[in-house]
Amino acid sequence: MATAAASSTAPLSNAFLPRLGPNGGAKSTRSLQWAKNQRQRSSPRRFGAAVITAKFELKPPPYPLNALEPHMSQNTLSFHWGKHHRGYVDNLNKQIAGTELESKSLEDIIIQTYNKGDLLPPFNNAAQIWNHDFFWESMKPGGGGKPSGELLKLIERDFGSFEKLCEELRSAAATQFGSGWAWLAFNPRPSDGKELLVVKSPNAVNPLVLGYIPILTIDVWEHAYYLDFQNRRPDYISIFLEKLVSWEGVGAKLAVAKSQAA
C-alpha cells in the first residue's frame, strides 16, 4: 500500500480521524499505520502562487483484487474499484479544480458539501471516495468469524449479543431502499449511554455528517453485488458477514474512535 505523500504545508489531517494530532494519538501501531495511509495526495506547488493544490488519488484495497474470491469475485472488484471508485476520484478532482475546495481534506469537503442536507455537487463524489476506501478496509481475505476484546464487550453491552448486532446489520442493509450503505458506528456523545449503533444511509451519505464515527460498512448499491448475486441482496449481506467482514479492522477503528472521544 502506497504511503501518503509528504505535504510540507497541510498537517496530516486524516480523512477518518479529524481530531488527531500530528502523532496520531492512537495507541495501537496497526491503527496508526492504517490511519497514516488513508490519504494519498500528490502535492504539486503551483508556480508563483501561495496556494497549494493537490489531487486525490485512487487508493487500492489492502489486498489483491482476487483475494476475496469466491465470496466477492475479482470481476466485481475490478469494476467496483477499477471503474466506480476510480470514477469518483477522477470526477471529484475535476469538480474541485480551481475552487477553494482544492486545498481541503476529503473529510472537510464532505462536511462542507453536505451543506446540512442541501447537497452541493461535489458531495456525491467526495463521500463515495471516502465510503469506498472504508468499505475495502471493512473486509479482508478469510474474514468473518466473531469480534473479540473491547469490541465484543461493547457489542454485547449495546446490542445484547453479537447475534443481535448481526440481525440489526442485516436488517439495515436489506431495507435501505435504493442505493446506500449500512454502518456500525461509534457515537461519541450518546444520550442513552449506547456508544455503538447501526445506521443506514442513502446514496453517498455517511454517518460522519451525523457526528458519528463509522467503524464498519456494507455497500448496498446494486453495483456492489449484482454481478455475483444479482437481485439477491440478502444472500450478499450474509456472505459479507460470514466470510468477508474484518472484525480486527473494526476493533482497530473503534480503538481510535474511543481515544478521540476521550
Binding site: 469494476f79 471503474k83 442505493s179 454481478l227 437481485n231
Partner: protein, 233 residues
C-alpha cells in the same frame, strides 16, 4: 379462511395474465395487484437489452415490488381497521417504494417493444410535432434525457411526461421508485427509463451512458403517442 385466501392470492399471482397494474385478486374486500405479463419474450429486445436482464428485471425485481406492495396494503388495511394512525403513517414509505416500483415498471414494459414490432421507430403525428415544438428535434430530446439519466445520483428514473393541464411536454427525473406524479400532480408519464443499476448492470456494467444510448432502439413510441393523444386530443 386465512388459508383459502392465501391459496387464492398465490394462484392468481402465478397465473399469466395480460392487462396492467389493475387489481387481480381480492380477499376481505382488499384489491391487490399482480405482476403483468410482458407483451414480448425476454429475449426480444436484444441486443439493446439482454434476455438475462429482462427476465431478472421482470421475474425478480418487479415481482418483489408487487409482493411487498400487496403485503404493505394488507398491513395498511389492518391498521386502518384498528384506527392505528401511527401504523398507517409508518406504512406510507413501504407503499411508496413498492407501489411506486409496481406502477413504474408496469409503464416501463409498455415503453419497450421489439424492433420488429416498431421499437425504435420515431413518433409520428401530434407527439412528433410536440417534440419538435418543445425540444427542437427528437435527437435533442434524446440527448437531454440521456444527460439527465446519466447524471442521476443513485437509483431512479428519467421521464418524458406531459403536463395535462398546461399541455406541455416535460423531461423530469425521480429518485428511487417515486412515480412521475411526485414531481407534479398533473404530470402524466409517456416514457420512463429505469436507471437503477439492476436495469443495465449485467450488460453495460458501470457505463450507464451506453445503456441510455442503446435503449432508444427499442423504445415504443406508439404507446407514448397513444397516451399523449388521450391527454392532448
Amino acid at each position: 379462511m386465512a388459508l383459502r385466501a392465501l391459496l387464492t392470492r398465490k394462484t392468481l399471482a402465478s397465473a399469466p395474465r395480460l392487462g396492467g397494474a389493475a387489481a387481480a385478486a381480492s380477499f376481505r374486500g382488499l384489491q391487490t395487484s399482480s405482476l403483468p405479463d410482458l407483451p414480448y419474450d425476454y429475449g426480444a429486445l436484444q441486443p439493446a437489452i439482454s434476455g438475462e436482464i429482462m427476465q431478472l428485471h421482470h421475474q425478480k425485481h418487479h415481482q418483489a415490488y408487487v409482493t411487498n406492495y400487496n403485503k404493505a396494503l394488507e398491513q395498511l388495511h389492518d391498521a386502518m381497521g384498528k384506527g392505528d394512525a401511527p401504523a398507517v403513517v409508518k406504512l406510507q414509505s413501504a407503499i411508496k417504494f413498492n407501489g411506486g416500483g409496481h406502477v413504474n415498471h408496469s409503464i416501463f414494459w409498455k415503453n419497450l417493444a421489439p424492433i420488429q414490432e416498431g421499437g425504435g421507430e420515431p413518433p409520428k403525428g401530434s407527439l412528433g410535432w410536440a417534440i419538435d415544438d418543445h425540444f427542437q428535434s427528437l435527437d435533442a430530446l434524446v440527448q437531454k434525457m440521456n444527460a439527465e439519466g446519466a447524471a442521476l445520483q443513485g437509483s431512479g428514473w428519467v421521464w418524458l411526461g406531459v403536463d395535462k393541464e398546461l399541455k406541455k411536454l416535460v423531461v423530469e427525473t425521480t429518485s428511487n421508485q417515486d412515480p412521475l406524479v411526485t414531481k407534479g400532480p398533473s404530470l402524466i408519464p409517456l416514457i420512463g427509463i429505469d436507471v437503477w443499476e439492476h436495469a443495465y448492470y449485467l450488460q453495460y456494467k458501470n457505463v450507464r451512458p451506453d445503456y441510455l444510448k442503446n435503449i432508444w432502439k427499442v423504445i415504443n413510441w406508439k404507446y407514448a403517442s397513444e397516451v399523449y393523444e388521450k391527454e392532448c386530443p
